[in-house]
């Protein structure tokens, strides 16, 4: 069993949990993910590693309440245990040799972008972070990002915090102003990553997107997480989750990610009813 050591609400829909998982903590690297099950009957869901503490043997996950499983997870408290927690899975984000990088995060994706920004900062890389949210209530990790970024730009869709725009606007501005990045790393909703990649393409800047498709086992066994990258079928769980964003077929990935939309909506409603909570 994997105990929840710390729980913190980052915003009304996003929660941070620090989980006791010494074997995973010992090996985890930014960009890798874990798979968890909340209870005996639960489904397996992948979540990217948000942080790790090798000494204390803990792994931090940050998740948005979007469906039945994350709803149930969010109802657990410090001292409760998760039934299963396995990892670290997938390949780590490649940071070696990078001198100047733009990190573009969207929504809860910023939780995954942060450890990468932090690692880049630690290895002496210049980090420009663009972090986008729907509104000011949903902003997370602002101070943390500022501490590891040489430039930090916050955007919201409604302008209630930072600039009123989507993340691609400041990205384009930076590229136009002559910033030369070794790499742009983007993590967030598929639609955002698609447009980040479209934005950087004309500038010829290498762009890495971190994919989080539907998966079951996370070890290459089910093939449910397959994507088309550069015309070839790849498995996000073992070949990724990071891929060359200019080669990813985002439209296919978006279609595939909606496979269980109806099931998930109903399951979420049922779970909310169980907790006597209004569906958001």
């Amino acid at each position: 069993m994997f105990e929840i050591i710390r729980k913190k609400e980052l915003n009304p829909t996003v929660t941070l949990m620090e989980i006791n998982a010494p074997l995973v903590a010992k090996k985890a690297q930014p960009g890798q993910f874990i798979i968890l099950r909340v209870d005996e009957e639960g489904e397996r869901i992948p979540l990217t590693v948000a942080d790790y503490d090798r000494e204390n043997g803990t792994v931090t996950i940050i998740f948005q309440v979007v469906g039945a499983t994350t709803e149930k997870l969010n109802h657990l408290n410090e001292g409760d245990c998760l039934c299963d927690f396995v990892g670290p899975l997938g390949k780590e984000t490649e940071t070696e040799g990078l001198k100047k990088v733009a990190v573009v995060g969207g929504g809860v994706g910023c939780a995954i972008a942060y450890p990468i920004a932090k690692k880049l900062h630690e290895i002496g890389c210049e980090v420009h972070t663009i972090s986008g949210f729907r509104n000011k209530d949903l902003v997370i990790l602002e101070d943390e990002f500022k501490a590891v970024s040489d430039k930090f730009i916050l955007t919201t869709d409604d302008g209630s915090a930072g600039e009123k725009c989507v993340v691609t606007e400041p990205l384009k501005r930076l590229l136009d102003s002559g910033e030369k990045y070794d790499c742009v790393i983007t993590i967030g909703p598929l639609i955002m990553m698609k447009f980040v990649c479209l934005t950087t393409k004309p500038y010829g800047v290498k762009t890495i997107a971190s994919m989080n498709p539907i998966m079951v086992d996370g070890t290459g066994m089910c093939g449910g997480c397959r994507l088309t990258v550069g015309g070839k079928t790849v498995f996000a769980c073992v070949d990724g989750p990071d891929f060359d964003g200019h080669e990813i077929d985002f439209d296919e990935a978006m279609a595939r990610s909606s496979t269980y939309k109806d099931f998930e909506r109903k399951a979420h409603e049922d779970t909310c009813n169980l907790f006597k909570k209004e569906v958001k």
Partner: protein, 464 residues
């Protein structure tokens, strides 16, 4: 006096129409009377041809004569000497091409129903016996087993019986490997697998789930940091193959692995299951092996009209005859000499239909095998809302890529000698990880052989 009936006692089974709507076990098993009657068909041949057909060399005539005497626990003890998982093997072994194919009674009439008797004995023991395995005293040596499928469990069981301290590492949240994620409930009830695993635990085998060797811990760390003196790799062949045809990534296209894992391991077939699965109305399964039959029969039980699409003829179907017959009885349609060309969209991103090429068999080549070749210009389209690709699997590269000096074949199989020894001293491998996708019993045979080799290796190492 031997029972000279030319036919086996038939296996009592659930009615085909009834069972095609539920996930309960199809074959119901012999009664004590049927088992004794069937056991009496055995002639107790002196040279025991049946044993030569068994990959783990069960003392077949001996256990059968115990059954004939009505000493079922005695029969169980005899089987247990050679097999760690009799309730499993009695159900899923292809006996017709192994022990039963060598049975003298099969020359004129049907062979003795060895598999059904094995199953009967194991089930009788599980239901009636209070003798539980006891942990032998430890010899102080630690062995790691990677993967808790048939190869790993057998190896672990044999070593534990010899007093080794065995830890089995399993990547998934539940032990059993293909026995729990692949083979469906109606063919192998999960409670039976669970019972066999409990038996191993009683022998002192420690099972660590949620550990991916190659990711969470590497093989070298198992040896250097955790003090394991030998390692057995039984990680199976879990990587699904796809056809690389247009439309294969549409919503509604599954690998058989994904489809079966969702249903068997994650219990997606239950109405209140937490893991979703698409319940297609018309499902096409591509492939002709046992996995294709399993996937087709699962889809049928979820309420679909199911078509199996296979590029050769019925004669070449690699699946067991019994599985093909069961599938037919349950109303599954076989579209033979057909090879998919592309999968078409229904206009909303989901599978709508599959375009197939009509095939014919060529003249047999030098190896005597007829190849399927396209019939020029003959294509057809079948309406379908889900496609399951059951084209075979290959070994997972995770271990190879994280274990220096571990040699593998071009196609990914780990290189091992007859004892299972790999290119690394003290590291053994067996089952699908070495051979590519094969059967439960062959994997068990390999686990058994390696257990003996590991025992030798550790003894010799400590004597020198």
């Amino acid at each position: 006096m031997a029972n000279m009936s030319l036919e086996k006692n038939p296996m009592p089974s659930q009615d085909p129409v009834e069972r095609s709507r539920n996930f309960r076990e199809v074959a119901l098993g012999y009664s004590e009377e049927q088992a004794i009657d069937e056991a009496k068909r055995c002639l107790n041949c002196k040279n025991k041809p049946c044993v030569s057909g068994c990959p783990v060399k069960i003392y077949i005539p001996e256990f059968i004569s115990k059954v004939a005497e009505g000493d079922f626990e005695g029969a169980y003890e005899i089987i247990s000497v050679s097999s760690s998982l009799p309730a499993v093997c009695g159900r899923v072994c292809p006996q017709e091409s192994q022990c039963e194919s060598k049975c003298v009674r099969g020359i004129k009439g049907e062979s003795v129903a060895i598999g059904r008797l094995e199953r009967f004995v194991a089930d009788w023991h599980n239901q009636n016996s209070k003798n539980s395995a006891r942990k032998p005293s430890s010899n102080g040596h630690k062995v790691a087993v990677i993967g808790s499928g048939p190869a790993g469990l057998t190896c672990a069981g044999d070593l534990a019986k010899k007093g080794y301290e065995v830890t089995v590492f399993e990547a998934l949240h539940l032990a059993g490997g293909v026995l729990v994620y692949g083979i469906p409930e109606f063919r192998l009830p999960k409670s039976i697998v669970q019972k066999e695993i409990e038996g191993l635990k009683a022998l002192g085998v420690n099972i660590q789930t949620n550990v991916v060797i190659g990711k969470t811990i590497t093989i070298d760390e198992l040896v250097s940091e955790y003090g394991f003196e030998a390692v057995f790799i039984g990680s199976g062949a879990g990587l699904p193959k796809f056809m690389n045809i247009p439309g294969e990534n549409l919503k509604g296209v599954y690998s058989a692995n994904e489809f079966l894992t969702r249903i068997n391991l994650m219990k997606a077939y239950k109405e209140d299951g937490n893991t979703p699965i698409q319940r297609g109305k018309k499902v096409a399964v591509v492939g002709g092996g046992n996995v294709a039959m399993d996937a087709a029969r699962c889809a049928r039980r979820l309420g679909a009209e199911v078509t199996i699409v296979y590029r050769r003829t019925e004669k070449e179907l690699p699946a067991r005859l019994e599985e093909v017959e069961h599938a037919k009885e349950e109303g599954i349609v076989f579209k033979l000499l057909s090879s998919p060309l592309s999968i078409k969209d229904n206009g909303e991103g989901w599978v709508g239909s599959m375009v197939c090429q009509a095939m014919k068999l060529s003249e047999p080549d030098d190896g005597g095998r007829a190849r399927p070749v396209p019939i020029e210009g003959e294509t057809f389209e079948i309406e379908t809302d889900a496609v399951i690709m059951a084209l075979g699997t290959s070994p997972n590269p995770l271990i190879k890529s994280t274990t220096e000096g571990l040699e593998t074949q071009k196609w990914g199989g780990i290189v091992a000698d007859e004892s299972g020894l790999t290119s690394r001293v003290g590291i053994y491998a067996g089952g699908d990880a070495v051979t590519g996708a094969a059967t439960v019993i062959l994997a068990m045979g390999a686990g058994k052989t390696s257990a003996a080799a590991i025992d030798e290796y550790i003894k010799n190492k400590n004597n020198n």
